[in-house]
């Protein structure tokens, strides 16, 4: 069974104590509050999404409970020119990048329009087939390098994803072509019912980078500062033409795999409880309170605002009229061949 997390690079420990000199960005109260706020918002959004699913108003949904620091930390390090390629559990990163809650709900509610975000137009939609977006990230990196935009492709997936050949093949080409691409692993210790230890004999997932001649490192994925700092360094390397990096972020999936899963079938409550002690929000809050005067009122206001925003998004989502059936033919091709055009017409507006 999965035990406690091994020691790894962190700036804040689980109790919010500063372990080593903070990077510049983490000495700025505003920055830290923004990071914290997005993590809280993500958690509030998660809860709402699950509630919607439980009441039949959303499809199967995978919560990011406990892993908010990873995708918020990663996304917060990225620039607009970069391209984010998320897996299905990185809601916080998508929100940070500018995808709206309403769009996320649309997607998880089973409506393609959720992928047509107004926000980061160049970002990829969620990738469901595990690890199959790593090759895209290599290609995006190739494209960005070719166009000389200075942008970097940043793909994120889970610990399970590291067992797929796609992950390996993509790392390999990123390595040998020195593509500007950063691969992040949200190692939440579980792939549905499969504990990390049974996924691979490798001691760390970061060490898999050795196979591609890439640098790989392990960071505490519950410390948003550590995640952002590691991502910063990886992005700098990529922008400097030094190629890709693999970052393993250690965290823990505090929730079921998705709303369709019942994790009590395969793991002990005690293990979950233990990991609640190291989750990412408390430590940052403690630090904010201790160092930056974060007050009870601030906290309550943040929660209230997050809930208001989430509720409003949910209401807009629920009020949206569905696409007409013929929308299934829209955008299949840039120009519909005769058969497709005929089908769309036949279906009418009903």
């Amino acid at each position: 069974m999965t035990g406690n997390l091994p020691d790894c690079s962190a700036f804040l420990d689980a109790k919010g104590q500063v372990l080593r000199e903070l990077p510049d960005f983490a000495r700025d109260a505003e920055t830290l509050i923004t990071l914290y706020s997005m993590m809280v918002k993500t958690r509030v959004f998660d809860a709402k999404a699950i509630a919607l699913q439980r009441t039949g108003r959303l499809g199967t949904y995978g919560s990011s409970l406990g892993q908010e620091a990873i995708s918020v930390g990663v996304a917060s390090a990225m620039s607009e020119a970069d391209v984010f390629l998320p897996s299905f559990r990185e809601h916080g990163g998508q929100l940070w990048r500018g995808v709206s809650m309403e769009e996320l709900l649309l997607y998880w509610g089973g409506d393609e329009r959720g992928n047509d975000f107004a926000g980061p137009r160049q970002d990829f939609p969620v990738c469901i087939p595990v690890a199959s977006h790593f090759p895209h990230a290599a290609g995006v990196g190739l494209g960005l390098a070719h166009k000389g935009t200075g942008g970097v492709a940043v793909a994120i997936a889970g610990d399970g994803a590291t067992s797929k050949g796609d992950f390996y093949e993509a790392m390999n080409v990123v390595g040998v072509w020195e593509l500007p691409a950063v691969f992040v692993i949200n190692n939440n210790q579980w792939a549905i019912s499969m504990p990390r230890a049974e996924q691979t004999r490798a001691e760390t997932l970061a060490q898999k980078a050795v196979a591609a001649g890439l640098p790989g490192e392990v960071v505490d994925g519950n410390d948003v500062i550590a995640v952002r700092e590691a991502t910063n360094r990886a992005l700098d390397r990529a922008r400097a033409g030094q190629g890709g990096t693999l970052i393993e972020c250690l965290s823990y999936r505090l929730s079921d795999h998705t709303t369709a899963d019942d994790a009590s079938r395969y793991r002990e409550d005690a293990e979950v409880s233990r990991h609640w002690k190291t989750e990412p929000l408390v430590r940052l809050r403690t630090h904010l309170v201790a160092e930056h005067g974060w007050s009870k009122d601030d906290e309550e206001a943040l929660l209230r605002d997050s809930r208001t925003e989430t509720e409003a998004a949910a209401e807009r989502y629920l009020a949206m009229s569905p696409q007409p059936a013929r929308a299934m033919f829209d955008h299949l091709y840039a120009t519909a061949p005769p058969d497709i055009a005929a089908l769309a017409k036949e279906m009418g507006d009903g």
Partner: protein, 326 residues
């Protein structure tokens, strides 16, 4: 004889196979302690041990390829792909290896493996979880492709697939996993592979379907019967090889044929059946052979999937069209 759902019948067949034959092993993602995401293997690891029912890493290529290798050593691997949308990574192993190992070694090595995968829509699953790409598999020489349509059929066909000395892809219509129950005896009796089943006798037209569409066709046939149209319904069951003589015999009798499947129209398996009729039963045909299928577009997300999949209404409309043809 217990009333079982399809997923229970599948579990009973797997359990029976594990009991009867020590060479049967099961592996796939989450098939162990979790009992499979649909619970098809629930309790089997606990009962038969982790050496025989085993969780694999998240690697579809290896799941299929390891089954090939294990099958050559006298094991009978029953491997699971969690959803058909993730089976594409296994096609290389199926087409380049499983389907040809016996042929290319002139019978020296063989590949008695089963690759199970839930498939099809109708449960409002996330993207990539509702595909029906059985035609791609049915095109691969050397494979068998089986789809059950009821719990009892699932039990008997799965036992047959496991006992068969050649590779079988066993596709389970997830929409039927819990949709209905029927009495299933744990008698260890395998059904015969390679056979279609006439599930309803009729005289005016033949309707061919498989998996979840068989029930949909049944509903349509009931409604048609009320309007005095007598449908013969065939559950194709074996998508490769196709029981062509059963299909032809029925169409020779009725003179009309509709084929129903969830997969997209173009190059779907319905085409093969219609083409067979256009070659071998042309003079019997009193009306066009009509396919009622998923449309030639990407399976839409949950909100529109009902509008994508054939339903009784579309089947009835096609039947009406065929009956009125002159």
């Amino acid at each position: 004889m217990a009333d079982l759902t399809m997923v229970e019948a599948i579990r009973m067949a797997l359990s029976r196979a594990l009991e009867d034959d020590p060479d049967v092993i099961i592996f796939g993602e989450d098939v162990g302690i979790d009992g499979g995401v649909f619970r098809a293997t629930d309790g089997l690891m606990q009962r038969f041990g982790a050496a025989r029912v085993r969780d694999t890493p998240l690697s579809e290529t290896v799941i299929a390829g390891m089954a090939v290798g294990a099958a050559t050593q006298g094991l009978r691997p029953v491997a699971e792909i969690q959803f058909m949308g993730f089976l594409y990574s296994a096609i290389d192993q199926l087409a380049n290896h499983a389907g040809r190992l016996r042929n290319r070694t002139r019978g020296r090595l063989s590949c008695p493996m089963v690759l199970r995968a839930p498939f099809g829509g109708g449960v409002k699953a996330p993207e990539h979880h509702s595909e029906s790409m059985e035609a791609m598999l049915a095109h691969i020489p050397g494979l068998r492709v089986i789809v059950p349509s009821t719990p009892a059929r699932a039990y008997g066909l799965l036992l047959a697939a496991i006992r068969d000395p050649d590779p079988v892809v066993f596709l389970e219509p997830k929409r039927l996993y819990r949709a209905l129950k029927e009495p299933v005896a744990n008698d260890g009796i395998a059904l015969t592979l390679d056979c279609a089943l006439v599930v309803r006798d009729g005289s005016d037209l033949t309707i061919i379907a498989w998996g979840a569409m068989v029930a949909e066709v049944g509903r349509a046939a009931d409604a048609l019967a009320e309007r005095g149209i007598s449908s013969e319904v065939i559950d194709l069951s074996s998508l490769k090889p196709i029981d062509r003589s059963a299909v032809r015999a029925s169409v020779q009798k009725t003179g009309r044929c509709i084929i129903v499947h969830e997969a997209p129209l173009t190059a779907g398996l319905g085409a093969e059946i219609a083409a067979d009729l256009a070659e071998h039963c042309l003079t019997s045909l009193l009306a066009p052979v009509v396919r009622v299928t998923g449309y030639d577009t990407v399976m839409p997300y949950a909100q529109l999937e009902d509008r994508y999949m054939p339903d009784a209404a579309r089947i009835q409309a096609a039947a009406q069209h065929v009956m009125e043809f002159a």
